[in-house]
């Protein structure tokens, strides 16, 4: 299911038998408030279905479980929206761009809006490999008087004053710690809007493989996890855009080693590791997705 792991460059062994011409299209879209709570996997499926409704010839990879040629720059998770998110898709055979735009606009579900669409060369590097940074607006919902602006500015000051803010995350069942602070380049209170009852905080972080600043982590580190909020990604900065490069030239490039000096040290189980006897169904069932559990019951 992961789209970031594969190299977008077309593997010669992977081409379909018919060798039809291909077309790579970059869509810039908005994931809005209405679909704030869907995960990246949900979003992936949403796009796949939109293209199927539009009857556009999305190209699929070969193999047992064919995945579509569809690649996002960086996943937006649950609770995160995005104003200008890019996704690359490959169609085969090519379709006139105006037609693609019309059909997609017609078939998009509520909550997702297409901003722009352009054709890009087939050999363009994968979006995820081009990222250097991101801007977010953190919207904290609070009634007037519920959360003082001064408290927010104070917490931001305290945050920025530290050189090390250690956070713990889990990845594939393994916990690891990392230093969040260097990844945060700008953190600034942007005022309270009484009409929509939200505090706004501007955040600029690095976005690179292995060293990405996450807005939900920043909110947690600031101590505002209890408030309802929207984390809105306003921009993604890419290394192939000169303007973006210029903006980020002011900031250092933080490597993974700098923020995560000691990787977790759990060894992989040895070959021939004995399986546990099957436990009671309830214990086994937890931790698996709904569809997997249903898959036990039905076809």
């Amino acid at each position: 299911m992961s789209t970031t792991a594969t190299d977008y460059d077309l593997d010669p062994a992977d081409t379909s038998a018919t060798e039809q011409p291909r077309q790579r299209i970059r869509l810039i879209y908005e994931k809005g408030e209405l679909v704030k709570f869907i995960s990246h996997q949900d979003e992936f499926r949403l796009w796949e279905r939109t293209l199927r409704r539009a009857n556009l010839p999305l190209l699929y990879k070969q193999g047992f479980n064919p995945q579509p040629f569809m690649q996002f720059a960086s996943p937006l998770g649950v609770g995160i929206t995005g104003l200008r998110e890019p996704v690359d898709i490959t169609l085969s055979p090519p379709v006139p761009l105006a037609e693609v735009e019309r059909l997609i606009r017609e078939k998009l579900p509520p909550g997702i809006h297409l901003q722009t669409i352009e054709e890009v060369p087939l050999k363009t590097p994968a979006l995820y490999s081009l990222l250097i940074g991101a801007d977010y607006t953190i919207l904290l919902y609070a009634e007037p008087g519920e959360l003082a602006s001064s408290r927010i500015t104070q917490r931001i000051e305290e945050f920025l004053a530290q050189s090390e803010i250690v956070r713990e995350r889990e990845r594939k069942g393994e916990k690891y710690t990392y230093n969040l602070r260097p990844l945060v380049f700008v953190l600034r209170y942007a005022g309270y809007d009484s009409a929509s009852e939200e505090h706004r905080i501007f955040l600029r972080v690095q976005q690179r493989e292995g060293a990405t600043g996450r807005p939900d982590e920043v909110v947690a580190a600031l101590g505002f996890d209890d408030f309802a909020r929207t984390l809105r990604r306003d921009s993604l900065y890419r290394s192939d855009q000169p303007a973006d490069v210029a903006t980020f030239a002011a900031y250092p490039v933080i490597s993974q080693a700098e923020i995560q000096p000691t990787k977790s040290s759990r060894r992989k189980p040895k070959w021939g590791y004995k399986r546990q006897p099957p436990k009671e169904q309830a214990a086994v069932a937890s931790g698996r997705s709904i569809s997997e559990r249903a898959g036990d019951e039905f076809v």
């Binding site: 869907i38 796949e48 199927r52 409704r53």
Partner: protein, 696 residues
């Protein structure tokens, strides 16, 4: 309690980020239909309630069908409501958020009719959770005209008694026509008495109440009971004998019929094509199209096969067109053709061929569950290979010895199973899933051992063909005797015997390549007394719910002690309901509900159980199960091919007809002295597979 959609939305905004899968509660999906509540043309507002969480209700076809049908009418609207997960439920109670509909976030109290779906018993307590969150009195007797009409439908209604205290009316049978009749009656009653003109306009605030002094809800129930297929529990009295069994179920109102006959739609309406496309992952995240309703096989344990008669097939063209329309409207990557026995759908091969030819390149995956082993077409497997991955196939032999197969009337040959398994593995599919049942009448440990042996034989076939990759998934469930089946008098097996059988299988079915799952015997017991219970179980359900029973279908919330305590509080015994063998003369709690089957037919089949008599597929040979008797007029009104029952009228004999089910043969071990129509084993479908092979 919060009241308006706006207030509810504000409250939601503040808590949704704290719960698991908040998208369950937000709505807004593609193809969900939002109508304007202020539109004066809207005369009826219906909430379709599925008593489980969104992920389980999201793909439920029954709900979707009604949603689609109701919303097509310009004078009605339908919105959905599901049961919240406990974390959200706790926050709802804490913040006074009432249960609301997904589309417009109106409280359930603002609707006219709330229709609950009762597909299986483990959802019963969730109904109470939802009513409680909606501030609607749990018991129908305590409701006033201010409260919406609360009705139920679905297969759980075939024994409506355990839930009878909580519903004003329960619909028996198919809902596509009756839902409009119920809503029409309600709307007329409301107009006549000027009741419940409260409501909310576009933004905030109630608009004025205008009502004249109103009578109690009984006037509404009196009108509803006149609709055929509507069961109003309040109009029936149940009296008990000294030993606790039922003495009689008698109507206490002149308009209530002594027996409520299920509703049957003569011809299935066109299938739903504009499915709601969930944002999040739901169980069966796909489009479902019903290709056939009903089943002619007559397996004795199967309630669905008994209650969904007669068999009506959808025309192939209609299904193919529906697939096209569905892709354009929804874009699902998988479409599943639902029926009780898909191999028995006359044009199954043509259907699969046409759909894969047209949509294979879009990687559309086709699901075809409920395949029979005996009439399984090898070509079908090849066709199903196009499209996306499927890991393998599922079969449901249910029994592993010939004797037991004769007992349950599901005869297959083990060689057929092994041969089919080989064909599946040969084509590269790695997984075969098989369902078996334990607790069948006359089942011995030998029969259970045979399950293990057969599973290992199938795995051996796989290993021979595919090597280490081959695997087998065995699902073993415990037989729960269901109402309106020949097994409805059978006792459920003792728990010690079940545990012994499970232990045997646990020991045998281990090792690489075998994955064995079974049901918790306590969960099965709860299902059993809920499905075979009488009216007194209503009290038990309410009590258990008060003690914390909920979400029985989810292992992590299953609360057996609550049920034990509830039974103790009312001086009742679980085993008496679940495990007692019932004499055929006993008045069963569902005596007054008819599935269209003659009692004599069920009794004959019950007797055949213990003789191992195997009965024909009724497409070959009609046994007058009762459907044609009860639904004469409807049968006459339809084309000959529309039903798989014989057409009525002279010169129309299609298959032989008998007035009792005469077995093809009897099992040698169980009834050596009896001879059926044949004195050797013959397959149920002697004319070969019903599927018409496509001329290539």
């Amino acid at each position: 309690m919060l009241q308006t959609p706006k207030q509810i939305t504000r409250a939601l905004d503040r808590v949704l980020h704290k719960v698991k899968q908040p998208a369950r509660y937000t709505g807004g999906e593609l193809n969900s239909i939002v109508k304007d509540w202020a539109n004066p043309a809207i005369r009826g507002k219906i909430a379709l309630a599925f008593p489980d969480i969104y992920e389980l209700g999201g793909s439920n076809l029954g709900l979707m069908v009604l949603y689609d049908l109701i919303n097509k009418r310009t004078d009605l609207l339908a919105e959905r409501v599901y049961c919240p997960w406990p974390d959200f439920e706790a926050l709802m109670r804490r913040d006074s958020i009432p249960l609301y509909s997904l589309e417009t976030r109106h409280r359930l109290l603002d609707f006219d009719v709330i229709g609950f779906s009762l597909p299986y018993e483990q959802l019963y307590t969730n109904v109470l959770t939802m009513l409680d969150l909606a501030s609607i009195p749990l018991r129908a007797a305590n409701r006033t005209p201010e409260h919406p009409l609360v009705i139920a439908g679905g297969s759980g209604c075939y024994n409506p008694e355990p839930m009878s205290a909580f519903f004003d009316a329960m619909v028996i049978g198919e809902g596509e026509e009756i839902i409009f009749e119920v809503v029409a009656v309600y709307a007329a009653w409301k107009r006549e008495y000027g009741i419940r003109e409260t409501g909310y306009g576009v933004e905030d605030g109630p608009y004025p109440v205008s009502r004249i002094p109103f009578p109690n809800r009984k006037t509404l129930l009196e009108r509803l009971v006149k609709i055929p297929g509507v069961y109003v529990p309040a109009f029936y009295d149940v009296s008990y004998a000294a030993d606790g069994t039922i003495a009689a179920i008698t109507p206490n109102h002149p308009m209530a019929p002594p027996e409520v006959l299920k509703r049957v739609v003569t011809v299935m309406p066109p299938p739903v094509t504009k499915f709601i496309v969930p944002f999040i992952d739901v169980v069966h995240n796909r489009a479902s199209i019903e290709i056939m309703r009903g089943c002619t096989r007559g397996c004795r344990f199967c309630q669905a096969g008994m209650i969904f008669r007669p068999v009506r097939e959808r025309p192939v063209d209609e299904v193919v067109q529906a697939v096209d329309a569905m892709i354009e409207a929804c874009g699902f990557e998988e479409v599943s053709f639902l029926s009780l026995s898909s191999s028995d759908y006359t044009h199954v091969e043509e259907l699969v061929r046409r759909v894969t030819d047209k949509h294979g390149t879009q990687k559309l995956s086709i699901g075809l569950p409920s395949l029979r082993i005996e009439s399984f077409s090898v070509d079908l497997m090849d066709l199903l290979e196009k499209g996306r991955r499927r890991s393998g196939f599922t079969f449901a032999p249910e029994a592993a010895t010939d004797r037991l197969r004769d007992v349950i009337n599901k005869p297959i040959a083990s060689e057929d199973l092994l041969r089919t398994a080989e064909e599946v593995y040969k084509r590269g599919w790695t997984t075969i899933k098989m369902y078996f049942m334990i607790g069948h009448p006359t089942q011995t440990l030998e029969d259970v051992q045979a399950i293990a042996d057969l599973s290992k034989q199938v795995l051996a076939v796989g290993k021979r063909v595919l090597g280490k990759k081959a695997n087998v998934r065995i699902g073993v469930s415990t037989l729960v005797p269901k109402p309106h089946t020949p097994f409805q008098w059978v006792p459920m097996e003792e728990e010690s015997v079940i545990r012994a059988q499970i232990e045997l299988l646990q020991q045998e079915l281990r090792g690489p390549g075998i994955h064995f799952t079974w049901n918790n015997p306590q969960e099965t017991l709860v299902e059993a007394f809920l499905t075979r219970g009488d009216r007194r179980i209503s009290d038990v359900i309410e009590r258990a719910w008060q003690l914390g029973a909920k979400l029985e279908g989810w292992g992590e919330y299953f609360n057996f002690p609550a049920w034990q305590q509830a039974f103790a509080d009312f001086g009742l015994d679980m085993d008496w309901y679940a495990r007692r063998a019932r004499p055929t003369a006993e008045v069963l709690p569902w005596e007054h509900i008819s599935a269209g089957l003659k009692k004599q037919f069920l009794v004959d089949e019950y007797v055949h159980t213990y003789q191992g008599g195997v009965v024909d597929d009724c497409r070959e040979h009609c046994f007058s199960c009762g459907i044609l008797g009860y639904f004469k007029e409807q049968r006459r009104a339809t084309a000959d091919e529309a039903w798989c029952c014989p057409p009525l009228g002279r010169d129309k004999a299609r298959q032989p007809v008998d007035i009792t089910p005469i077995p093809l043969y009897f099992n040698d071990d169980m009834a050596p002295d009896k001879v059926g129509q044949f004195d050797y084993r013959v397959p149920q479908r002697r004319a070969g597979t019903v599927s018409k092979r496509v001329q290539s």
